[in-house]
Amino acid sequence: MENKLKKSLIAYLFILPAMIFLVIFVFYPIVASIPLAFYDYSVVGQSKFVGLANFSRAIHDHEFWVSVENSILFVGVVPPLQLLSILLAIFVNRKIKGISFFRVLYYIPVVTSMVAVSITWGWIFDPQGLLNTFMIKHGIFSKPISFLNDPRFALLSLMFITLWQGLGYYMMIYLAGLQSIPKELEESAYVDGATRTQALYKITIPLLKPYIWLCTFMSILSAVRVFDVVYVLTNGGPGDATMVTSVYQFQKAFTDFNFGYASAIGLLVAILTTILSILVFIYGGRKGGMSYY
């Protein structure tokens, strides 16, 4: 018993340095953001307790619900399309000359900052940019499309950029998954007369399941938090066509300095996100998908 006490002491000495930072910047914010939502927080003056006023304001705030809707659209579109990386991974999972060169090339968008990526695509999507110039020259568009300033295309363009940047990242994860599948399994399927598509559906995809869940989970989390690309290219506009919850909360907090209201929005979003992640977690876990994520 005394031995365990001594051991605990030593253990806490190891943990303590990290714990100080975690308590202040990870655990404390989770707790402290809740009361903040019930105050009319003032940076300089006295903060005032306002009860549920921030929440009732959020419920009647049209722009907030638009941002929730757009975030849900983002989560509904980007993570499922992320599965395309599986095809890419299968395609680069072959031993031919120069294949690692191509894999490295495909990974470049991943290491590049989202700001640089956004600026680059912003100019490709510009009415005078590369895409419109090309499309008009070849008679596909009759007049330029303002991808980022047209409410019909703005959100789709941002989704496209997000997907484009993530493609190489998820490809690498799936590639790691593919390479962990024993070659004999596929070979024996071919010996038994299976076609390529059959082998893909019956062997490769089922064995990739843990990786598919991991990627879906990560992709959902990053879709919920999408910020950089929206902030840099449209800042929620035109109108509120691309307003997502993270940008709306950011504007309320750091443009209007309305911390109480921004916290209430954050809390509502957090509740929605937690429900979503638990659902994915349980569903993925039951299917034997995720071991510890």
Partner: protein
């Protein structure tokens, strides 16, 4: 006999042609995907060498060729200063995370102590529970500490990541217990065991963390714009947004600035690409 031989030669020929054909198609597809994923950057580089008049042209080879954009952007913003800010943020962030996480993960994996399960579940739950207003509370905390508008204020909230702790714990668990037991018999202290025996064993996991932190910190954008007011303290990504806001009518400058901001990270990536690619695989296997 002869016809049979001929047939088999023909068969071989057909097979060889088929192989060349399928290989050509494969490379063609690989190149098309490469144009899709790397093309925008190539076009960006070429645009950065174009003059104002022909900046919108699709020609890949800039004609006339000019360095004016680079000279202009370097005169307007101090790129070396932004690189220095980014290096300070990235290096200190990585060092703090590696040291703190590798210390904290060790007892969580290899020691039996009071409250271990509680601490571990608290850590895991932070990965699912989003901090509703983490940004706001951390801003207020940093502000109370008097660290607003300082690089320290940018660095310390992310000093240690829960992801790193969990990844390292997983890695410590794979180290054979006999190694620890043998060292204990020799009378080594826990600290010495950690430093001399465990740390070298988990180096692959540490390199994974270094790489993930590097990409994350080098490209960090949101938190720096919250904490920093003085544009002179911006890291590259934030400075780039600032530049594009100032010069959205002068794409040449923005293109040159973007290229300059990407170059360091591309160099590091190409130099360590093997580790980058292993890092992704390593993070999953834990």
């Amino acid at each position: 006999m002869e016809t049979l031989n001929n047939k088999s030669v023909n068969y071989k020929k057909v097979k060889a042609i088929k192989k060349i054909f399928s290989l050509t198609i494969t490379y063609l597809i690989l190149i098309i995907i490469a144009i899709f994923l790397a093309g925008p950057f190539i076009w960006l580089v070429s645009s950065s060498f174009k003059t104002g008049q022909n900046i919108y042209t699709m020609n890949l080879i800039p004609h006339p060729f000019t360095l004016a954009n680079y000279i202009g952007v370097i005169n307007f913003i101090s790129i070396p200063k932004y690189i220095l800010n980014t290096v300070i943020i990235t290096v200190s962030g990585i060092v703090l995370d590696v040291v703190l996480a590798s210390l904290a993960a060790y007892p969580l994996a290899c020691m039996d102590f009071y409250g271990k399960n509680l601490i571990f579940s608290a850590l895991v739950s932070t990965m699912i529970l989003p901090a509703a207003a983490g940004l706001i509370v951390n801003y207020l905390t940093i502000s109370k500490m008097g660290l607003l508008d300082t690089l320290t204020g940018v660095i310390i909230p992310g000093a240690v990541s829960v992801f790193s702790i969990i990844l390292l714990r997983q890695s410590y668990l794979t180290v054979p217990r006999e190694l620890i037991d043998a060292a204990k018999i020799d009378g080594a202290s826990e600290f010495k065991i950690w430093y001399k025996i465990m740390l070298p064993e988990v180096m692959p996991a540490i390199s994974t963390i270094v790489i993930f932190d590097f990409i994350g910190l080098w490209n960090s954008f949101l938190w720096p714009i919250v904490v920093l007011q003085d544009p002179n303290k911006y890291p590259l990504a934030t400075a780039l947004k600032y530049l594009s806001g100032q010069f959205n009518y002068k794409f040449g400058y923005v293109a040159a600035g973007t290229v300059l901001s990407i170059i360091p990270v591309i160099i590091v990536f190409l130099a360590f690409q093997k580790y980058f690619i292993n890092a992704v695989a390593g993070a999953i296997k834990g």
